[in-house]
Each structure stands twice: as C-alpha cells, then as structure tokens.
C-alpha cells in the first residue's frame, strides 16, 4: 500500500468515525429524552418529526442562534478554550477502539481501527484523563462562585475515580497479557470468553467509575442543579454550552464502547456485521446510563468520596491481587 493511499485511508476512517460519534451524540440526547420520559410516565419529544426524531437537529439549530454571553468577570481566553478541551478527548479515545474485523476492499486489507496501538488501553486512559481540564478550567474561568465550586468538585471527583478506573482494567490486562484492544477483542470470540464472566468485579468497578468519570447521575456533583445551579456550566451559553454537552455525550459513548470492547467481546457476534454489533452493545450501555439517571438519587459529596476511596479503590487493588494469585497458581 502506497503512502498516499495510506494517508487517504486514515483520513477517511477518521472522518467516518467522527461523523458517526457526532451523530451518535445527537441521537443519544433523543434516546435520553425519550427513555427518561417513558420512565417518568411522560412521552418525551413527539412534535418534531416522527417519534420526535428531528428533535436533536432542532435543538442544535436553536443553540447556534442563541446569544453567546461572556461574563465580565471571566478569564476570556480560558473561558473560550475550555469547551474545546472538554470536547476533544472523548473523540480522541475512539482512535484505538476496534470497530470491526478487517475488510477487503479493492485488493487491500483494511483494518477497521483508526490506529491499532499496542498500548490501546493506556491511550484511552490517558485521553479520558485529560477531559477534566475542560470542566475544571471552564468552572474556574467563569468568575462565578457556582462555576468555581462545580469546577473544584469535578477535578476532585475525576482524580478520585480515575485511580479505580485504571486499576479495574489491570486484571483484564493481566489475564489477556496484552494492552492492545484488537487482541483483547480477538480473545473473546465466544460469549463464554467474555471478560465480564472471567472477572465480573473488574467490570462492576469499571462501570461505576465510568459513570462517575462522565459526570452522570448519580455522580453529577459538578453540575448538581439543586445546589450549584448548573455547576461549571452556569455561565456558558450558545455553542460553548453545546460543546460541553456534546463532549459529555461523546465521553459517555466512548466509555460505553470501551466497556463493550474490553468486557463484552467488542464487535464480535454472530450473523450481523461487526460494526453493527458494537453499535448495539454501545446502545445497551447508553440505555443503562439513562436508566441510572431515572433510578438513583444523587450522592452526597462525602458519600461520593467514601465510595471512591473506601470501597472501589481497595476493591480494585484486592481484585488485582486475587487475579495475580490465581494466574500464578493455575
């Protein structure tokens, strides 16, 4: 394969995946409103298009035409770049997630990953860990007390849960013997080989931490509307607000895709083509996100810290130890 074809191929893959995730974000908001409505005995959006399917487009248009307010007390430059910092990492992580088996096209074998890094898992952890800067800086630069509190909360929460988030994946890496996501998917060719069955504790810890890392209920302390107005988002409006919003959904989709890839066999599945299986599994976890939101009340701040440091963190360490002992003995 020539250099030029290679570059074109990479660009095509990046654009396709990026568009898919952006569309996914838009329709995740539709799914959330529809499902949340049903869970609360409402109908959700119905007027715009059939089943309210055009609602995300209407919302997007509305946000573009809103006035963009910059508070006079704000640190302008940081206020402007913060949504961008929050927006990018969610999309970056998708570069290493395997979307399907390699396909044959015009005589070339094309792997369906943007980049098959041999340290895929670490790449995902590294990129998701950068997302917190958007929230923290956005809260700080707004020059408002509510925003500042939201920013401080988000940075404290992210640090606390990131430790267990990474540690939960260590047993999987130990069992798999690789950090490459492609190989981890390849090892889970049948349902019985799924890592969720080999190490359910790791899955539970990882999933709880993923919900906390994406600031979703019951862990949405940084934007707790009943106490902080909207937390770090308070002073944001128009497109900057929607960038935070899309960033949050991109992070959710990424976390769902990582869970599906590491614990549930990724794109592997019978009958249907690979990418479709991944999408289906991602949708299942998105539904879980929304279900959590409708079911659990928000944690208090000290409960949040207790859960992170006194339950999940020791449990994750113990899980590493036990997995190590079992791997050593058998």
């Amino acid at each position: 394969m020539g250099d030029l074809t290679y570059i074109v191929l990479i660009i095509v893959k990046v654009v396709v995946v990026y568009m898919a995730v952006i569309t996914g974000c838009a329709y995740a908001t539709w799914l959330e409103r529809k499902l949340l409505g049903r869970l609360q005995h409402r109908v959700g959006p119905t007027y715009v298009g059939p089943f309210g399917l055009l609602q995300p487009i209407a919302d997007g248009l509305k946000l573009i035409f809103k006035e963009d307010v910059i508070p006079s007390q704000a640190e302008k430059f940081i206020l402007i770049i913060a949504p961008v910092i929050a927006f990018i990492p969610g999309f970056l992580a998708f570069a290493v997630i395997p979307i399907g088996p390699p396909i044959e096209l015009f005589g070339y074998t094309i792997p369906l990953t943007i980049s098959d890094l041999n340290i895929g898992i670490l790449f995902i952890l590294a990129t998701t860990s950068l997302g917190v800067y958007g929230l923290a800086l956005g809260g700080w630069s707004s020059g408002s007390k509510y925003s500042l509190l939201g920013g401080i909360r988000s940075s404290a929460q992210m640090i606390s849960y990131e430790v267990s988030y990474g540690l939960a994946l260590v047993p999987i890496v130990m069992i798999a013997g690789t950090l490459s996501l492609n190989e981890i998917v390849a090892q889970q060719s049948s349902v019985f080989d799924w890592y969720v069955f080999k190490n359910p504790v790791a899955f539970l810890i990882f999933w709880i931490c993923a919900v906390a890392e994406t600031n979703r209920l019951p862990f949405d302390m940084p934007e707790a509307e009943s106490e902080l107005v909207a937390g770090y988002l308070t002073e944001y409006s128009s497109m900057r607000f929607s960038m935070f919003f899309v960033g949050e959904y991109a992070n959710m989709i990424t976390a769902a895709a990582v869970v599906a890839t590491v614990f549930f066999g990724g794109w592997q599945g019978p009958f249907l083509p690979g990418p479709l299986w991944l999408v289906l599994k991602v949708i299942v976890f998105m539904v879980f996100y929304i279900w959590f939101r409708a079911t659990f009340p928000r944690l208090r701040y000290d409960q949040l810290m207790d859960l992170g440091w006194k339950v999940l963190f020791p449990l994750a360490l113990l899980n590493v130890l036990v997995t190590g002992i079992i791997l050593y003995l058998f």
Binding site: I78, N118, L122, S129, V132, A136, G151, I159, E162
Partner: protein
C-alpha cells in the same frame, strides 16, 4: 526531524512560560502543554508506553491535583513581591545553575548526533524489566517514601482539627 524540532521548542518554551506566567493557573496550563510536547518526543522514539504514562500520570492526575489546589485557594495572580519568596530566590539560582552544569556535563559525554535507542525502548516488557529487575530496590524505596509522605500529610491534617 521537523516534528522533533517543533515538539522540543514547544516543550522548552512552555517550560519557560511555567515560571514566568503571572497567574498560577497559567503556569499549570503551560506545564500541561510542556508535558504533551514531551510525550510527542517519546512517541517519536517509539516509546509509546512511556508517552502514554507521561500523559496519564502527570497530565491526567498530578497536574489536576495542582489545578485543584490552586482553585481551592482561588489565587488569581501570584504575589511575586512576597518576602519569603524573595528570600528563596537566590537559592533557586544556585540550584538552577547546578542543574544546568550537570546537564551540560552529561551531554558532553554523548555524541552530538541524535541518540540511537534500542528497538524495545519504552515498551511494556522493557520498562517492566527495568523497574522490577535492575532498579527494583530504588523503585520500592520510592514507593515507601511516597507512602511515608502520605501518612505524614494525614497526620498533619488530623492535628489541625
């Protein structure tokens, strides 16, 4: 080569900005940029593992902690005319010069060409062999040192209340 030059210049320039920036949050931001640029340098040496860990540990954890503390104290601009700070300043020059001399001394030993790295540089097994083989005692001692620091911090925090 171009990429190396760009990344190196960004890393150095933002490192200088860390100490010259007026606002502490600005300093933290420049430090993040510097670390990202450094990780680009590691990627060029195909040390992906080291690069990812640099971003993960320093960019994603330690600097968030810095930012957290600065935001907690809500300091917008550092007061550089501070008394304690001006007393420490000469000491900073001394240590800086010592470090510079050390770096010059070390780089005299290497040839002026770009250093060649082994094929496995910065790979997972390579780093593991170094950490848990050759350097296992310093590595474990460092973790004990850090643990002591944590316990010390907790004790101090408890005394206050």
């Amino acid at each position: 080569m171009v990429l190396f030059a760009v990344a190196a210049i960004i890393a150095l320039a933002s490192a200088v900005m860390v100490i010259t920036a007026k606002s502490p949050v600005g300093s933290v931001l420049y430090l993040i940029i510097s670390i990202l640029a450094q990780s680009v340098l590691y990627i060029q040496l195909s040390g992906l593992f080291v690069a990812a860990f640099l971003v993960l540990v320093y960019g994603g954890a330690i600097l968030v902690l810095f930012l957290f503390v600065i935001m907690m104290l809500n300091i917008r601009y550092a007061n550089l005319g501070d008394d304690t700070l001006s007393k420490i300043k000469p000491l900073g020059w001394v240590f800086g010069l010592v470090l510079l001399a050390e770096m010059v001394w070390v780089s005299m030993g290497v040839s002026s060409r770009m250093a060649e790295v082994g094929e496995n540089f910065g790979n997972v097994p390579e780093v593991a062999h170094l950490l848990y083989g050759k350097f296992v005692y310093p590595f474990e001692l460092t973790s004990i040192l850090l643990l002591t620091a944590i316990v010390g911090a907790v004790v101090m925090a408890r005394k206050g209340s």
